[in-house]
Symmetry: none
Subunit: 186 residues, 4 copies
Amino acid sequence: MSRSAEARQKALTAATDLLRVRGIPGFTVEEVAKTSGVAKTTIYRHWPNADHLLAEAVSCQIAPLPTPNTGSLEGDLRAFFSAVVPPESLESLAQMLTGVLYAATYDPAIRAALEEAVSRRTGPIKTIIELAQARGEVPAYVDPERAVDLVEGPFLFAVLTGRLTFQPSEVDELLGLIVAGLTAVR
Amino acid sequence: MSRSAEARQKALTAATDLLRVRGIPGFTVEEVAKTSGVAKTTIYRHWPNADHLLAEAVSCQIAPLPTPNTGSLEGDLRAFFSAVVPPESLESLAQMLTGVLYAATYDPAIRAALEEAVSRRTGPIKTIIELAQARGEVPAYVDPERAVDLVEGPFLFAVLTGRLTFQPSEVDELLGLIVAGLTAVR
Amino acid sequence: MSRSAEARQKALTAATDLLRVRGIPGFTVEEVAKTSGVAKTTIYRHWPNADHLLAEAVSCQIAPLPTPNTGSLEGDLRAFFSAVVPPESLESLAQMLTGVLYAATYDPAIRAALEEAVSRRTGPIKTIIELAQARGEVPAYVDPERAVDLVEGPFLFAVLTGRLTFQPSEVDELLGLIVAGLTAVR
Amino acid sequence: MSRSAEARQKALTAATDLLRVRGIPGFTVEEVAKTSGVAKTTIYRHWPNADHLLAEAVSCQIAPLPTPNTGSLEGDLRAFFSAVVPPESLESLAQMLTGVLYAATYDPAIRAALEEAVSRRTGPIKTIIELAQARGEVPAYVDPERAVDLVEGPFLFAVLTGRLTFQPSEVDELLGLIVAGLTAVR
DNA sequence: TGTTAAGCGAGACGGTACGTCGCGTCTTAAT
DNA sequence: ATTAAGACGCGACGTACCGTCTCGCTTAACA
């Protein structure tokens, strides 16, 4: 690994760790520099400002996602969410989510990074929907984009408002409503 | 109005204006003090820190919400959303939302204020659901809490990811899916 | 003493000490802040930048100067220089002098401060010259400004080039030449 | 010219130009490297640090000096100073002088270089003095070193304090006093 | 004439200090 | 007793140069 890439990686790792341990309020370029052994200057050579580093640190905490294919919409979604869910703490998840969502509102580059990260989630979901449409489970007139809103939205809302504990029963209930919405023919 | 209340009001008004004009990144206690003519000290006497002032400034931008009663679930929801929606700019809405959501993750008081604000929205929706259940439109076993997630979530998600322009057709489509989900009997 | 003046004084004292101990290369706003207990921000509230603080620290190391009146030019100058001379180390004197002289070349405000400090020295000398002219020791056509150049210059040059140890014999010799120059009638 | 010498020369030329155009505050190894096309690494291979490069850049702006021989002390000195004087701007002269004088205070190598440059001036002057002593114009007991202080000092002082415009009348006046000091028998 | 080692450019790195911004606290004088 | 005014301590920001460190590539001298 090139010298440059090594420094970058060390900084990013330290940033990710720091983020996990101290959360966004404790996330500081100065601290990242100190713990990583990478000079602050170098960090700023790789990221234009603290928020960008934060965004990448958040983004690289999002695991790569599977695109299950169980044969039914409900099975696929259930598989997807059971694969995705479990962060150590929902609160720190909420904090990171909101922190980055916020930063994205005033920085186009962060917004772009966020979109990329989001699409890593929405992509599989869209595929799931389209497979279901191919099978006839979901009517063809349903716009997959909106379907994604319907699938992701309720979970996001529940997490951000702190009203979801991600107990299986809750997830089941939500998924049931969502699947019903998608499969009902009108 | 008491002298104290007057200062508080002036500060809050200035804060709200500042928030609207410059957004969260430009929202500063120092600036609020300057534009309002209220001393910084005084502001800190009324709010424990900047985020609390911000939270209140955001919260008082949220208009009081109606609880429509059109006789059908779809009608009620449509009425509700058409009454609520369109702020000047979706972007500034997203910014304020994320900003406060973020602040709420590390400050319990703000979290409480946020919950209060959120419940001003979720309350009417819950009522709408319960009315629909009373009419038999929505099965009784549906937990109104989860129903609220289903109703609010998709819109929030679409707004935060910048994928909703709130054109009537989009809103219709989403509402269609949501209503289908809620009314389907399984 | 007002709070503000107190902070200023503490910073200035620390700056002066630091300058004496570590010289100009070790003179740092950050260090002044640390040793004085005055916040860096506050230092910058009192001085526009590091050089200005430096200039003041130097300037306040220059003791107030007497204007002797012994009745003869040579006696006056001898008294003046014997009162002024002995800094702990000629090297640190040279360093401070050159440092400030240099800073003055690119900063008008420092130049002004320097001029003030210089005039604290040139003033008494000019007076000495004028007294000597009144007594007839020095011809009337001699411009006191030039006379000051003649009096101060050789010492400055010798100090800056490190060729003066300020042994009495050296000083005597220089003063002898200077007095001769001033008193000769042409 | 060897490849190495060529790079050295290019760097030095660029340094000199940069110094003339932007003065010491704008004098930067980085900028020298950029404008000269010589890599920073190479520059550091030729000079141990920025100050040494600066010193050499200054030093090579000092023209070689004549040792006039007009037959009289006053004539010689007048010839010497008229040959030397007028740089484009006295201010930039003062800046370079003070800058190097300052650097010399904390770096022995620069001090040595400075001494060399200074001696290029003091040498001729000393010769002038000694010739004058041989002719009997200047008493034998005068130490040529001190005489040099007397000759150079006033001009240096006047330049550094910005009180000399080098108009002929000023120079004449100073020279008059200096010559008087040197030739007076006591 | 081919080989090799010294020297070069390019450019990132660790580091120190800079000067700035905003926070939340504190003091003082006026209302 | 509460306010306006404004300085303060603090922590982090992002920047500028410093002097160092690989890295390939050139080039000149030696085999």
